[in-house]
């Protein structure tokens, strides 16, 4: 049950997306997120969907594997859809029951919002699927470096992120083990109402947290033993380098911005 969450699970590969510089990928995602919210009609949304599909093809990853990244946010999408259908008013009334109506604008907004959320999730999991956590944090560190001058601990934040990402699979395995151990002791995680189920998670969360703290302590010790002393004077194994791929990404970004701008109403 825990093997399906795609975020943070880098799949090594040699595709265009894998080999592009993480900095351009990060910047592109920021731009893409903006464009997704700029798009406000059927044409722009279709273009964005088409573009996302094209990018997925470019990554040469299995389609179903990427779609799995939507799983943890299904609920959120559903929730916003319901909210919009009932709360947003305007246009033709499709259905009426007392003071309770479903109107054209509501349905429209619901569809658009779910497309937007879906595209954003898909795109950001594409980033983590095609970029190794190390590259990703290095990209972030480099992009945010200017903020270091005004006292933002950029190196520390980047290191924290990369360690968090590195420990996701380890802690997943551990959670799986704890669930099995608790199930073997008679715990039941699959029945009962929502409150009951949430309560049942406590015997998983507590051992997991305790062990995470212990891991953190040991890791800190191991890092110190290997001479870690903060970001000053540190070098990096893989220096990031812009290539023709990043030029291509920049051109595509400009084109996409133009197209969306042109077609939006």
């Amino acid at each position: 049950m825990l093997q399906n969450i795609a975020i943070g699970q880098y799949v090594p590969g040699q595709s265009f997306l894998h080999r592009a510089d993480p900095r351009s990928k990060l910047l592109f995602i920021v731009l893409f997120a903006t464009l997704v919210f700029l798009g406000n009609n059927t044409i722009t949304h279709s273009i964005l969907i088409g573009f996302t599909l094209f990018t997925i093809l470019l990554s040469r990853l299995s389609f179903t594997y990427i779609l799995k990244s939507l799983k943890p946010v299904w609920f959120l999408i559903l929730f916003t859809v319901i909210l919009h259908i009932f709360m947003t008013k305007g246009g033709t009334v499709y259905y009426q029951w007392g003071s309770f109506t479903i109107e054209e604008q509501g349905v429209r907004q619901a569809i658009f919002i779910s497309i937007r959320l879906g595209l954003l999730i898909l795109f950001s999991s594409l980033l983590t699927l095609t970029t190794s956590p190390m590259d990703l944090t290095e990209g972030l560190e480099r992009l945010l470096r200017p903020f270091g001058r005004i006292g933002v601990p950029v190196h520390e934040i980047a290191l924290m992120m990369s360690i968090a990402l590195r420990f996701i699979p380890t802690l997943m395995e551990e959670t799986d083990k704890i669930i099995k151990a608790q199930t073997a002791r008679g715990a039941d995680f699959t029945s009962g109402n929502l409150v009951r189920r949430a309560k049942n998670l406590i015997p998983i969360a507590i051992p997991l947290f305790i062990s995470a703290f212990r891991r953190a302590e040991e890791l800190a010790l191991a890092m110190e033993a290997r001479g870690y002393r903060g970001g000053v004077g540190r070098t990096r194994l893989n220096k990031l380098q812009f290539t023709w791929r990043d030029v291509a990404i920049a051109v595509v970004a400009a084109a996409l911005t133009f197209v969306i701008w042109w077609w939006r109403t």
Binding site: T170, L221, G227
Partner: protein
């Protein structure tokens, strides 16, 4: 010529705060020295102070009293601390909790990055280190997919890349399966023999100490026994009183002697088997 001492402990004491606020003495005046190029095993059960000993060796902890010298440098010398940590590499017990990098190669690079090594030089050293632990095929693998023994070998590669003079295995085999344990011990022996790396193996498996140059037995914060494995393990009763096991071969012989058989002292199974066969034939 007397071999040079790489690590020297003189009258080292250490204590930490116990749960009820009292000071708990972990080391009560330890004197020991470890010769360059040797393979030393430190035996002791839980709470004997052997892990504290390890952390004192690379200045992760500083002694309360006494002095520790690493290649002649006092570990209390704050300016030399990074140099000491480069010289004294440590492999910890839990393989998952000491890997920082998201790939094997990134992890080996971690120590070098801390030292500020030039990326080109880093590349060479990483390849060299991975080759020396036989993990070169896994350079781009993700650590969590490796076996325990492989993870520990990656940890050793991370240390080897920093060109250390001593590697401390702090119960590095305790969480491994028999095969992983064998892999790691085999590698440690080979690095000791072929690359001249001093190895300090802290363990509670007496079996691992058989082939070392010296065995140090810790008990209750003090050095209980010290010497060649044959000397130490021949004192079976004394070791067992301290709650420690002896290698299987030694135990078998000890019990056979108690039953009235005459057998010479041996540390290795093959030789004991030989003696037993001879005994069987001459009876």
């Amino acid at each position: 010529m007397k071999p040079e001492n790489l690590l020297t402990f003189s009258d080292v004491t250490f204590s930490y705060d116990g749960e009820e606020g009292q000071r708990v003495k972990v080391l009560k005046g330890v004197d020991l020295s470890i010769a360059k190029g040797s393979f030393v095993s430190v035996l002791g059960h839980n709470g004997s102070g052997k892990s504290t000993l390890a952390k004192l060796m690379n200045a992760l902890l500083l002694p309360e009293g006494g002095k520790i010298l690493v290649s002649g440098v006092d570990t209390k010398d704050g300016e030399m601390i990074w140099e000491i940590r480069r010289h004294v590499g440590m492999v910890f017990q839990n393989p998952d909790n000491q890997i920082v990098g998201a790939t094997v190669e990134d992890d080996v690079a971690f120590g070098l990055e801390n030292m500020g090594v030039d990326p080109k030089e880093m590349r060479n050293r990483i390849d060299e280190a991975l080759l020396s632990v036989g993990m070169e095929k896994y350079a781009l693998a993700q650590p969590y997919r490796l076996s325990g023994g492989q993870k520990q070998r990656v940890a050793i590669a991370g240390i080897m890349a920093m060109r250390p003079s001593v590697i401390i295995l702090d119960e590095a085999t305790a969480m491994l399966d028999p095969q992983g344990r064998q892999e790691v011990m085999h590698l440690a022996r080979r690095l000791n023999r072929e690359e001249g790396i001093t190895v300090v193996n802290i363990t509670h498996f007496p079996e691992e100490a058989i082939d070392s140059d010296r065995v140090i037995v810790m008990e209750n914060g003090e050095v209980l026994m010290e010497g060649h494995p044959a000397e130490v393990f021949s004192q079976v009763d004394r070791l067992q009183q301290a709650g420690l096991d002896v290698p299987f071969v030694v135990r078998v012989r000890h019990e056979l002697i108690a039953k009235g058989y005459d057998l010479p002292f041996e540390l290795h199974q093959e030789e004991l088997v030989e003696h037993l066969c001879r005994l069987l034939l001459t009876r």
